[in-house]
Symmetry: C2
DNA sequence: CAGCAAATTTGATGCTTGTTAAAATTTAAA
DNA sequence: TTTAAATTTTAACAAGCATCAAATTTGCTG
């Protein structure tokens, strides 16, 4: 019961814990969520399974630790981006998230799936809720900035708008994590979703600006065909 | 290897299969997704586990069979609703789905979770994709009708709009299924999401109409507080 | 009606996963 | 150096899905 003290034993524990988390990250990135079982992790980290329980806890705790790492990284990236125009502020979460995810797509894909896995199965997780509350706060801040800059009319409740945007973002995330489309498509989709939601309550000039941005983001062949659905069906005829 | 013929044996098989599906439905409604394990199901249906494999298949097939039942029911309800104004048409999926779900909330909650469970875990399911493709088609039809009636301007690609709406609907569904809010809140949220998305591309009169509908749906106390987040935190202080 | 062949149900079993209790070992202090 | 505390390991359990050979039921036929 140490891990916070500074004795030799505690230092070794922290080292093994870090090793475990690193191996878990690699395992997750390599084989996806299914590949992360405790026996394999123990084998890779040169410990036995109960040691994992001692150093980290049960599987939920392991996944939570990995997710917390991503969240921390994301927080540190978004923090210094507070001096920007309202639209950039509103889009910060989307831009920074996709930017971070793109750096190690395999791992972040699996990490996201892991966190999503925590939230299902009837049990509710305060940690997961806190993550999404944080995202919601960020989006709310962006919307408030747009409202303050007289870009939004305020005819739609800000909370409703921000909830809508966050739900949408999470769903786009899922689609990417499940392999329905790549990270570029994910980013494009999430941004378009955001712009469309804002456009619903936008002042005319702002609305035109948003529509322009959407057009900019839209590939030429996406006008008639749904990208999500078309991308979903191209499976099995690649090799 | 019958089940399609009309001998006595085949009829008994169908009977047992129906019994199994009925018990599975009850089990799912009672104890949620976790309660649906093959041993318990076999016990309730007065058969043994391998019989389930013979009559239905593995667990995926069982869940798929349950989901297919819900989809069939939903299809039959939406089919005769084709003679309506464009907005009603666009909202048909939301209204009919929530209407059906409300009739047996416990079961449909669990059934939805079961279908969602199929779609995760790396494996892709064509059956699940077909369900959501169908929903997407319906929403697309509604949007096309709105466009044809000159209610939408067409400045946002219809496919993009319909994808957005469907993603949102699925996410609202998840929130309800996970118990974050009740069926009424779910219906309200899904409709608001739809209206907001349409408003982004709506002609001015239509936009006002949509905003009015949103205001109608919005409870008085939802203006400042996010319902999803506030509802998420009321746990543990009820008893 | 009796017997036979095919199909179906069953009991037993394997395998994987998460999880835990107690023994063995290592570590820090007296 | 001895000793007590903490940590790792050995070993095993429980629960889930999945499957196989044997037993049983069913439907047809002489």
């Amino acid at each position: 019961m140490s891990l916070a003290t500074d004795t030799l034993r505690a230092r070794n524990m922290r080292k093994r814990r870090a090793r475990l988390l690193a191996e878990a990250r690699g395992l997750l990135a390599r084989g996806g969520f299914e590949a992360l079982n405790l026996r394999e992790l123990a084998r890779l980290a040169d410990v036995t399974v109960p040691t994992i329980y001692n150093l980290i806890g049960k599987k939920e705790d392991l996944l939570l630790a990995l997710g917390a790492g991503v969240l921390t990284e994301l927080e540190s990236r978004i923090a210094p981006a507070h001096e920007a125009d309202p639209l950039t502020l509103a889009a910060a979460v989307v831009v920074e998230s996709t930017g971070l995810f793109a750096e190690d797509e395999d791992f972040h894909r699996a990490a996201f799936l892991a966190v999503e896995w925590l939230d299902q199965g009837g049990q509710h997780h305060d940690e997961v809720a806190r993550i999404y509350d944080w995202v919601g706060e960020l989006i709310s801040t962006g919307i408030a900035a747009c409202r303050a800059a007289r870009l939004l009319r305020g005819r739609v409740a800000a909370a409703m708008l921000s909830d809508l945007i966050m739900r949408n973002f999470r769903m786009s995330c899922r689609g990417w994590a499940f392999g329905h489309y790549g990270i570029d498509e994910f980013r494009r989709m999430a941004l378009c979703d955001l712009y469309i939601a804002l456009a619903a309550d936008a002042v005319e000039t702002f609305q035109l600006q948003l529509l322009h941005k959407i057009t900019e983001l839209t590939p030429d062949d996406t006008v008639a065909t749904s990208p999500a659905r078309s991308a979903r069906n191209n499976r099995g005829d690649s090799t």
